[in-house]
């Protein structure tokens, strides 16, 4: 028995915890334990790598590794603990970028040891390119989500430019591999090109599609890690990386499917772009704001209120506060119902799951066909983070990309209050004439924050 045998067993165990962890993460009841299992496996794998290493290592190196682990752990822990719930996706993106950078650095460091071995150089170059794209792409995604970079910058013919960039980057990496060159200039040139490509790849994509992009970059980093595993003959990196690579790809496709948007369109922005410019010109009327107190009064003195939840509710995790709003209004003698559009959120049943989680009585959730005739007799419709499912263009504008999709007839109600984070277009990327309707008032702000204030205001009435 050698230390190498023990290390292999540890790696085997860690790989199994990754598989089990991912499996458990796909069910709501087991998800948290799954995450802890994977974290446990990871800790063992890292500890094993350090303490069961074969060969002489100067103590200064152990000190440096320990120091780096400590710095990374402290910053990572504090950042993850302090980040607001609503900023989670951008945090994930940032951490993903760190992993990509780590993989790219490994490739840079290993390159010169392996010149003359085309197989290993091929792996190193692949890890370098994918890791770098994942790094710079994730940083752009992070900046887009936290608002630093809030416009989709589109170079003219950006799809063409990006394609050329990709070909040049991959071509250079292949050249370095085939030619057996030792040139640092070519190595760092590939590195720089890959970084640039990552930026150009993500910059044109709209903020609403960022979760999909992050998921895609996530599987890229997984691949980069797997290349590292190949390089070091390290099973845990290989299995962990590939698992994430393939699971991440499936998850990306699943996310696209759930929001009825092909991955191709997300990346190449095929629709949404032209439709948005075409439709925005035809918008007329003015946007009207409503204050929290006015909204509170309006709701409090209504007879019947219908709540239309959408993805914004899920993003803001406002399902509990909306339930509270429902309870307090019922207490005041207001009849409250929820209108569930079949594709509200990102997939069928999304809103049902979410509202069930905050114990909303199931009988209060009405399907579209059942509730549509009721809007005419409704005093206030409160739309929380939904957009396309209440867009009248689906009925009236044959040029609209969503024309023909059945929608909730909210415009029949006496008043419509729409809670949204901003005037940004919804998932289909198109403007909504409903916002300009004279009966409509906009309540801007994060759903959870706005509803919390609203509930407090109604309580004080």
């Amino acid at each position: 028995m050698t230390t190498k045998n023990i290390l292999d067993i540890i790696y085997l165990f860690a790989s199994v915890t990754f598989v089990i962890g991912l499996k458990m993460l796909s069910g709501p009841q087991t998800a948290r334990r799954g995450n802890l299992w994977a974290a446990f496996g990871m800790t063992l794998a890292v500890a094993g790598t350090i303490f069961l290493h074969d060969g002489e290592v100067a103590s200064i190196i152990y000190i440096l590794i320990g120091l780096a682990l400590a710095i990374g752990s402290i910053i990572g822990f504090v950042a993850a603990k302090k980040v607001k719930m609503t900023s989670m996706p951008e945090m994930v993106s940032l951490f993903n970028g760190m992993g990509g950078a780590c993989a790219a650095l490994i490739s840079l460091l290993e390159f010169h040891h392996n010149v003359g071995d085309p197989g290993r150089i091929a792996i190193i170059m692949a890890g370098l390119v994918i890791g770098s794209v994942s790094f710079s792409g994730s940083i752009i995604a992070f900046m887009k989500l936290n608002g630093t970079l809030n416009k989709s910058i589109r170079l003219p013919n950006y799809n063409f430019i990006n394609l050329i960039m990709m070909i040049v980057t991959v071509g250079l990496a292949v050249y370095v591999t085939m030619s057996g060159t030792e040139s640092s200039v070519l190595l760092y040139g590939t590195f720089a090109l890959a970084l640039l490509y990552g930026i150009l790849f993500v910059v044109p994509i709209g903020g609403a599609d960022m979760p999909v992009v992050i998921s895609l970059l996530n599987s890229f980093t997984g691949l980069a890690a797997a290349f590292g595993g190949f390089l070091y003959d390290n099973q845990v990196m290989l299995t962990g990386g590939i698992l994430v690579g393939s699971a991440g790809t499936i998850l990306t496709l699943e996310m696209c499917r759930a929001m009825n948007r092909p991955l191709f369109n997300v990346i190449f922005g095929a629709f949404g772009e032209s439709a948005a410019t075409g439709a925005s010109a035809s918008m007329h009327g003015t946007i009207k704001d409503i204050s929290i107190s006015d909204a509170a009064v309006l709701l409090n003195y209504s007879k019947k209120v219908i709540i239309v939840p959408g993805y914004g509710l899920a993003v803001a995790q406002a399902q509990h506060i909306i339930h509270e709003l429902e309870l307090i209004l019922e207490e005041r003698g207001v009849q409250v119902k929820y209108a569930i559009h079949p594709v509200a959120g990102r997939m069928p049943g999304h809103m049902n799951v979410l509202l069930a989680e905050s114990n909303v009585y199931y009988g209060k959730l009405s399907e579209m066909d059942e509730i549509n005739p009721e809007f005419a007799s409704t005093d206030v419709v409160l739309v929380v983070g939904a957009n396309d499912v209440v867009n009248p263009a689906a009925k009236t504008d044959p040029a609209s990309p969503i024309y023909g999709m059945p929608i909730l007839d909210v415009e029949a109600a006496k008043h419509i209050i729409i809670n949204k984070r901003s005037m940004n277009a919804g998932y289909a990327g198109i403007e909504n004439q409903l916002f300009y309707d004279p009966k409509t008032s906009m309540l801007f702000g994060d759903a959870k924050a706005a509803l919390t204030k609203l509930v407090a205001e109604i309580k004080s009435l």
Binding site: V19, L22, K23, L25, S26, P28, R32, N35, A38, M42, A45, V57, A58, L64, I65, A68, L69, I71, G72, G76, A79, A80, M85, M88, L94, F95, M98, A101, C102, L105, I106, L108, L109, G119, T221, G222, A225, G228, F230, Y232, N234, L238, T239, G240, G241, I242, L243, V244, G245, S246, A247, G248, I250, L251, E254, A258, A314, R346, M347, L354
Partner: protein, 104 residues
């Protein structure tokens, strides 16, 4: 070309692991409720932080007088650790809401 085929032959066991892992990854995800999309993505994100193991190996194999290589390795270990620790902690925080539901 021959070198590449020889390379594949030499590493055939790893290639088996690789291909089988792809299928495991696909199967393990299966059908995920969309509320879990973000936590699952985040959990997977933490798992690929396993790349930190590679950066540790780089450092362990570096001589203590190679300052440049050591400093790059040092940065790589920090970045990888950020990925792992941050990833798992963020995922855990996202999943807290499911735990509260269990208690009720």
């Amino acid at each position: 070309m021959n070198e590449f085929i020889a390379f594949i032959g030499e590493h055939i066991d790893k290639i088996y692991v690789l291909i089988l892992s792809i299928f495991v990854g696909v199967e393990v995800i299966g059908k995920v409720p969309s509320v879990l999309h973000t936590p699952l993505m985040s959990g997977a994100n933490a798992i690929h932080g396993v790349v930190v193991v590679g950066s540790i190996i780089v450092m362990l194999n570096t001589e203590s007088d190679q300052i440049l290589l050591l400093s790059l390795g040092f940065v790589a270990v920090i970045l990888g650790t950020l990925n792992v620790v941050g990833g798992f902690v963020v995922t855990d925080r996202m999943l807290e809401m499911f735990k509260k539901k269990d208690k009720k």
